[in-house]
């Protein structure tokens, strides 16, 4: 494995370790006795004692941290106060919806953002470019839940084409047709992010087009379309790809609200409801899993970036 990969992986692992410390302390930072924070107010004395021994609350805080870490490594993220089932199971139930939503949204973002941004760059200065840039600017400024609400109004309430809320699993019933439940939410979620990718692609292409090596390419006698695709776009995409990591983070954040608007049974809605229900073990578990996921995605993007840009040595 190249030294670059080793370096990036070890950096991700150390960041994760540090983040896990913060997440561990999350429970302790919430006002109140950690035991009752984790068990809720209706805990019986037996449950309290059991948890006290399990967590080792009489031990120094460092030991508690490592005990927690050991549990996490085994998949034990605690028990949900509301559901009285393991946190991991609760999260798993919501994962399908959220992962599908995120994937479909990323597809929209890429398929719309990149080509439209490229077209705007190629027609730089024309009315088309100005119109597209204006629309992109607008979409990047609107709140996703507002877009979502109006999509529901137009397409679900008025036109009746698409369902307005909920999501029956494609595995349990209905099959792929149930993906239409995710169409409106994914569009609402994709809109501002696609707009940002559009602007980034456009800006990146305009930047690259001014480079000396593009002049060399033209001097070689290559046809303009090939210059655009093979030289300009190819180099411009580097900036876009490196933005994917943080686009994903934005997706996670905004999915929380979007799932609430569309009543999708995903992790986002779970987080909000858990906050309202004071189901702290679930909140902690979700934050942990999200951070792991985000760091993993970033790592993958970094490693892939190396494939695209041979100039990248040790960061």
């Amino acid at each position: 494995m190249s030294s670059y990969a080793v370096h990036r992986i070890s950096a991700a692992v150390t960041t994760l370790a540090a983040a896990s410390v913060i997440i561990f302390f999350f429970i302790h930072l919430i006002p109140g006795d950690p035991l009752y924070v984790l068990l809720g107010d209706v805990a019986t004395p037996d449950q309290v004692d059991a948890l006290r021994t399990r967590l080792g609350l009489d031990q120094p805080i460092i030991v508690q941290y490592f005990r927690w870490l050991a549990h996490v490594a085994r998949g034990d993220l605690g028990t949900s106060i509301f559901f009285q089932t393991p946190v991991l199971h609760v999260i798993r139930d919501g994962a399908e919806t959220s992962i599908l939503l995120a994937s479909i949204t990323m597809i929209w973002i890429t398929l719309i953002g990149v080509p439209v941004g490229a077209i705007a760059a190629m027609r730089h200065g024309s009315w088309l470019d100005q119109a597209l840039s204006g629309v992109a600017m607008l979409l990047a400024s609107v709140p996703t839940f507002w877009v979502g609400l109006y999509l529901i109004l137009i397409f679900a309430a008025w036109l009746g084409w698409l369902p307005s809320s909920g999501y029956p699993s494609i595995f349990e019933q209905g099959g792929l047709a149930n993906l239409r439940y995710l169409l409106l939410p994914s569009l609402a979620l994709a809109a501002p992010n696609a707009a940002l990718i559009l602007r980034l692609t456009r800006a990146s292409m305009l930047d690259v087009a001014r480079a000396d090596y593009i002049r060399t390419a033209r001097a070689k006698g290559i046809r303009p379309m090939r210059v655009i695709l093979r030289h300009i776009l190819r180099n411009a995409l580097l900036a876009v790809v490196s933005a994917f990591g943080f686009t994903f983070a934005a997706l996670i954040s905004e999915a929380v609200v979007t799932e609430t608007v569309f009543a999708l049974p995903g992790i986002g809605q779970l987080v909000v409801q858990s906050i309202l229900r004071r189901d702290y073990p679930v909140i902690q578990g979700i934050i942990l899993m999200t951070v792991v996921l985000y760091l993993a995605v970033n790592l993958m993007v970094d490693l892939c970036y190396r494939l695209l840009d041979p100039r990248v040595e040790l960061a």
Binding site: G125, D212, Y213, R218, K220, I222, R234, D309, P310, R311
Partner: protein, 322 residues
């Protein structure tokens, strides 16, 4: 082989234009190296880009002129258009080898891309040809370097790759826009000798643009001196150094430090080069010319031809008794 006639490049709109390059004419024969010399901003790069057809839309544009390549006028055609019309003919290398190569493409692929445009051969033959070209520009270990990326090569090597790419375009004329300015002196010498060798063996004509008179003395056969967007003198390199006819050229020569006397004061040319549009009538150099008289300021200088095809744009060329 390459004949540039009355080339004028302007900025502004067609109705309200301002010439930044005026009536430039020169020719380069087969196997000859012409040096285009002048200070920064005199329009030499602009001229070369215009000849090449690489002026950006929205920037300066060609107002009039002809660029004849073996008889065909290729003015205002971009390189790919020339290839399609069958007049490949001109290739160009640039000043900054650092940034003139696509950073994410292997060097071999970039050469093969140029080959593919100008010759119809199989992919395997293209790779072979690319290797030959690298060898021709004296890059050691050519076969391995085909797979290298530009950032892995030194400045001198990158410039050689640029030359190889230019050769892949099978040019009759090579335009070299200050190719050695960004390199150190030792590497510079190698590149210059390479260019001379290519010229001799392949019969390549070279338009060599530079502001460095030392390079001019070493490499070129003939010189065209530019000032404020005009060609003020054209002659063989020996005559330009020994018998400069235009006051500007004469002043340039006197600015060169004499290696014999090391305690001299360096001479300069007083004043600043004229900006486009500053000169209405009369000679552009008149404000700074020590020999200027009233005629120089009022009337545009004619192009006089002294013997041996030595052309001067001046009312009173030096060394010619009235």
């Amino acid at each position: 082989m390459l004949r540039v006639r009355d080339l004028s490049i302007s900025i502004g709109t067609p109705t309200e234009s301002l010439d930044i390059v005026s009536s430039v004419s020169f020719e380069i024969e087969r196997g000859e190296i012409l040096g285009l010399v002048g200070e920064s901003g005199c329009g030499k790069s602009m001229t070369s880009l215009a000849v090449m057809g690489l002026l950006d839309k929205g920037g300066p544009w060609v107002r009039t002129g002809r660029v004849e390549l073996s008889g065909f006028d290729v003015i205002n055609s971009q390189p790919y258009q020339r290839v399609e019309a069958g007049h490949g003919g001109i290739a160009m290398i640039f000043q900054e080898p650092m940034s003139s190569l696509n950073p994410v493409m292997k060097v071999g692929d970039q050469i093969e891309e140029a080959i593919a445009v100008h010759q119809k051969t199989s992919s395997a033959r293209q790779t072979l040809k690319a290797r030959e070209l690298l060898e021709m520009v004296r890059i050691p270990d050519a076969a391995m370097q085909l797979g290298a990326y530009p950032h892995q090569l030194s400045g001198g090597m990158r410039q050689r790759v640029m030359i190889a790419i230019a050769l892949a375009c099978q040019p009759q004329v090579l335009i070299a826009d200050e190719p050695t300015t960004a390199l150190d002196v030792t590497v510079q010498a190698q590149i210059l000798s390479l260019l001379r060798e290519l010229c001799d063996t392949l019969g390549l004509s070279i338009l060599f643009i530079t502001h460095d008179l030392g390079v001019v003395a070493q490499l070129v056969d003939r010189v065209a001196v530019m000032y404020a967007g005009r060609v003020v003198e054209t002659a063989t390199v020996e005559r330009v150094f020994a018998y400069p006819a235009h006051p500007y050229t004469e002043a340039l020569m006197s600015c060169l430090p004499d290696p014999g006397h090391w305690k001299q004061r360096l001479t300069t040319i007083p004043g600043q080069a004229a900006k486009p549009g500053q000169v209405r009538n009369g000679c552009a150099f008149a404000p700074r010319c020590r020999y200027a008289v009233a005629t120089c300021v009022d009337q545009a200088p004619p192009c006089a031809t002294l013997f041996d095809n030595h052309r001067v744009l001046c009312h009173f060329p030096r060394g010619v008794t009235a």
